[in-house]
């Protein structure tokens, strides 16, 4: 057989060939590589592209990158190192020890430049570059840094950028993320990091023993990140944040037909620039703040709903024909459910659905809720998109919670009583919702029965993606159900006795519902959700103030926001 011999010969020749390769590399060219390796003659200088910008719906910049300068030194010559640190400390007006500490901390190996000072001014950068004649180991590296023209504006929507943490690194390693990469945390920065992030480029060159460049070995140009355009309008966002005025709470304004988020304010807000500049004092303060500054209150924390939940009770009862628009109940200030006395906040007398919504009469809704049944209330709440996330793009969305008899039986081994149904009917008890969910719920009433998916990113890299973003689901209601509720919600604002009458003086007709959610200890949470104009609604709005007082306070804030929007010609 000849074939096996040929194969064996081929393999032997191959191994011999590798031997020659080894000989060539190690012995014949060994000296050169030894020089390259021993004296660390190869230098790598990386150059960063800038991270993609984040724009508002009209293309105004919310976050972009600005050039900052970093001072780096090549650490191969210890004598030069000390001189550089001494003169750099003079120019930068920092202590020598601080620079030495930074040098120690950032040191990787003798051929990789070490960053000893970040974010230095242009003047300092020029002064340091002049030193380069005597001390060639100095490198002044331009480095794009995140910059926020609006300060804290939309901080929670944006998120912030910082050095990658271990958890993210293990998840993202396969996508080419490395240690010390700058990545987004929270908000759009995190969700769309893949598009926003820049690609690192750099130069490698060979240097002589003095650190002078002999020749460039290779170059890879850096690539900038892609721009992301949001549906947010800076103007509306600013108005919303101004009138929240630092009180804990949130304002969400959404297009009720498409689900575009026009404003999403969460307060108290943090300053994202503190992360970009690595201002450690500010960061310590930020993380220790008792107001949990990093939480986006519009989506990430859930609160009891209070009276705004009555919208769902009304829909459930009407749709199941448990009541009709003419059904009346007598409110005498309280009612008995079983042996417990359940109070109303006032004595309203004879109330039909529309009047009960207008006056937010608890007694009417206790009775209506009991007629509809707890399971039905739970099912309708889910139909309106509560108790699950809204599939909104930004990370860390809270699903909220709506209790049901079955849930209680399975998870708590307790029975469900009529008193619980009554509590559920006014949105108290275990009910938890987020302001975004409520905005979506009220949008269903506004747009005639479509459960929209809220979204905030309109275009990536100039390519409009709203077609893919707009998803809505048609909810089936009986003829008239939504009309009766809408009528009631108009009364809330426009009837002189309505709970939200304070909003009525404006040039647009608003419909909505107030809520005062008991949240002991402390003040109740204030809610207002609504839509405007009443006919052909263009905005769904939800104002929420954490421990802000009665619903009236939220109405006042909503009025100020809407008034300002009218003044600026935005409606």
């Amino acid at each position: 057989m000849i074939r096996p011999r040929i194969v064996i010969w081929a393999i032997t020749v191959m191994l011999f060939f590798l031997l020659l390769g080894l000989l060539n590399l190690e012995v014949i060219h060994g000296k050169r590589y030894q020089e390259l390796g021993d004296k660390n003659c190869i230098r790598l200088v990386s150059q960063n592209g800038s991270r993609g910008r984040i724009l508002d719906r009209e293309g105004r910049v919310i976050a972009d990158s600005q050039l900052s300068y970093d001072l780096m030194i090549l650490p191969q010559d210890p004598g030069q190192q000390e001189k550089i640190i001494l003169s750099a400390a003079q120019i930068l007006k920092v202590s020598v020890r601080e620079l030495q500490k930074a040098l120690k901390k950032e040191y990787i190996s003798s051929s990789v430049p070490v960053t000893i000072a970040r974010n230095i001014s242009v003047k300092e950068a020029i002064a340091l570059t002049e030193l380069k004649v005597d001390l060639p180991a100095i490198i002044v590296q331009p480095d794009p840094l995140r910059h926020y023209p609006g300060g804290r504006l939309a901080a929670h929507v944006l998120g912030y950028v910082s050095e990658i943490d271990r958890w993210r690194l293990t998840r993202l390693e396969d996508y080419g993320y490395k240690t010390k990469d700058i990545v987004g945390f929270g908000g759009v920065e995190e969700r769309y990091d893949y598009y926003l992030r820049q690609e690192e480029g750099g130069v490698s060159f060979e240097v002589d023993h003095r650190g002078k460049i002999i020749r460039t070995l290779g170059f890879k140009p850096p690539v900038n990140g892609k721009d992301i355009q949001l549906t947010l309008s800076i103007k509306i966002q600013k108005i919303a944040e101004d009138y929240l005025a630092g009180r804990k709470g949130s304002v969400v304004i959404m297009d009720p037909y498409t689900g575009e988020i026009l404003a999403m304010a969460s307060s108290a807000a943090f300053d994202p620039a503190a992360f970009a500049e690595k201002n450690s004092d500010a960061l310590v303060k930020l993380f220790n703040d008792p107001n949990s500054l990093l939480i986006n209150r519009a989506i990430s924390s859930a609160y009891p709903a209070g009276s705004i939940f009555k919208v769902i009770v009304a829909a459930a009862a009407l749709d199941n024909k448990k009541i009709n628009p003419n059904t009346t109940f007598l409110c005498q200030g309280s009612t008995f459910v079983g042996r417990g006395e359940f109070k109303c906040w006032s004595t309203h007398g004879l109330q039909n659905l529309q009047a009960a919504l207008t006056h937010s009469c608890n007694v009417f809704f206790y009775k209506t809720g009991l007629l509809a049944g707890a399971q039905s209330l739970h099912d309708y709440a889910l139909k309106f998109g509560l108790s699950k996330t809204t599939s909104f793009e930004l990370p860390y969305e809270n699903p909220g919670f709506i209790p049901s008899p079955l849930w209680r039986k399975i998870n708590k081994f307790k029975n469900w009583f009529d008193g619980d149904t009554a509590n559920l009917s006014i949105g108290q008890g275990e009910v938890l919702v987020t302001p975004l969910q409520i905005t979506r719920m009220i949008a269903v009433i506004a747009n005639g029965g479509y459960l929209v998916t809220p979204y905030i990113v309109k275009a990536i890299d100039g390519r409009d993606i709203s077609v893919y973003q707009q998803r809505s689901e048609k909810l089936n209601f009986k003829q008239g159900t939504l009309d009766y509720i809408r009528e009631g919600l108009r009364g809330v604002v426009n009837d002189p006795t309505g709970t939200g009458n304070v909003l009525s003086g404006l040039t647009v007709i608003i419909a909505g519902k107030t809520g005062t959610a008991q949240a002991p200890p402390g003040q109740p949470h204030a809610w207002f959700c609504g839509f405007l104009p009443y006919k052909n609604p263009k905005f769904a709005i939800c104002v929420f103030l954490e421990h802000g007082g009665p619903g009236y306070v939220a109405c006042v804030t909503a009025k100020q926001i809407i008034q300002e929007m009218i003044n600026q010609g935005l409606i």
Binding site: R3, P4, V7, I8, I11, T12, M14, L15, L18, L19, G21, L22, L23, L25, E26, V27, H29, G30, K31, R32, Y33, Q34, L36, G37, D38, I42, L44, S46, I108, S109, S111, D174, Y175, E200, G201, G202, V203, S204, L217, G218, F219, K220
Partner: protein, 367 residues
């Protein structure tokens, strides 16, 4: 004939211990507890591998004839599992997590494919003592076995693990050549395979393209894909004749050389042990592969013969491609150096292969 058992065992253990030394040297300066224990884990893999080796060497290799379809099915199933789990996790994934062990099915499928092809080409007619493969036409001699090879190869390349896929394809071609299949068919096959190569370019992943381009000129991407090749060459080159000595290789211990304990362990080794060390290591591999070929030549049974050739070729190809990759003579495709590189799957499969080899020699003496 216990002779080959000890020869193979001693050579394998020598290579393994050089491997452990290099792994220790390349990781002991890195921070983190995982890095500190990595050489201990490798020792554990080797011990388990030795257990597998002694078990397999006592199982008659004829059993594998019977188990071929089961083994093929199992390997295919695991590859499919990786494919499905990989797509749901959106990332490139080559391994299945079984307890604390990351099992790499593509490694296993190499040896399974060798068994499968060896069996396929050594079938005999019932009333005939001659091999069927000499009478095979185009379909049974070429297309059918290629179909059975292409199935797992496609899944492996999809993972994406270009290296293992290419190894199996090369194995297929060489095994085809070693059987009685007509040369004409093999040439036709090679011709047909090489025709669509330019079109395959667009099917490659971006990073695979990068690596091929970088192979042609490492300096187009000095910080990314080219970096490894440049650093690997510097590491090997700076070893010179005697090497820098154990634990004093600067390139691999500082963070210069990525994958210095897996695919690029040859560079780590060469830097510290120099040209002499490199030559010794290559010689050890040569001895091991030669043992395989000697066993194949001694064996009369056609299945055993082909199996022994296949296993020796598998080792030879893996070693050649890996070393060539380290020397910058082949594109970086991600193939471990058998018995040296860190990794349980590779160690296990290599020891299983060696176990089969030893058993072929032992059983032959019984006949």
């Amino acid at each position: 004939m216990r002779n080959s058992f000890f020869i193979i065992l001693i050579i394998a253990l020598l290579i393994c211990s050089l491997g452990v030394l290099s792994i220790y040297s390349s990781t002991y300066q890195k921070e983190g507890k995982i890095w500190q224990t990595i050489f201990q884990r490798q020792i554990l893999w080797i011990i388990l591998g030795l257990v597998l080796f002694s078990i397999i060497s006592n199982i008659s290799y004829r059993r594998f004839w019977d188990w071929t379809y089961f083994l093929y099915g199992a390997a295919f199933f695991f590859l499919l599992l990786v494919f499905i789990l990989g797509t749901t996790r959106l990332g490139a994934q080559r391994w299945l997590r079984i307890g604390w062990f990351n099992f790499q099915p593509s490694e296993l499928s190499k040896i399974v494919m060798v068994i499968f092809l060896a069996r396929y080409f050594s079938r005999k007619a019932v009333d005939d003592i001659e091999l069927l493969s000499g009478k095979f036409g185009m379909i049974r001699g070429l297309l059918l076995p290629f179909f059975f090879t292409a199935l797992p190869v496609a899944l492996i390349i999809e993972q994406p693990d270009l290296g293992s896929g290419i190894i199996i394809l090369i194995l297929f071609i060489t095994l085809l050549y070693l059987t009685n299949v007509r040369l004409k068919y093999i040439f036709i096959f090679l011709l047909v395979m090489s025709l669509p190569l330019p079109f395959m370019w667009s099917l490659l992943r971006d990073y695979q393209k990068d690596r091929l381009l970088v192979f042609l000129n490492p300096n187009i991407d000095p910080l990314g894909a080219g970096y490894t090749v440049i650093q690997s060459k510097i590491a090997i080159g700076s070893g010179w004749l005697w090497g820098k000595g154990w634990l004093s290789g600067t390139q691999s211990q500082l963070h210069f050389l990525p994958e210095s304990h897996t695919d690029f362990i040859f560079a780590t080794f060469s830097e510290e042990w120099g040209f002499l060390g490199g030559v010794t290591l290559l010689f050890l591999y040569y001895l091991l592969i030669r043992q395989g070929f000697l066993i194949a030549q001694r064996t009369q049974d056609s299945f055993g013969k082909l199996l022994a050739y296949g296993i020796s070729l598998m080792l030879a190809i893996e070693v050649s491609i890996n070393v060539a990759m380290n020397l910058g003579l082949a594109p970086v495709v991600g193939i471990p150096l058998p018995l040296m590189s860190y990794g349980g799957s590779s160690i296990f499969v290599t020891f299983i292969a060696l176990g089969i080899l030893v058993n072929i020699d032992k059983t032959r003496a019984v006949f």
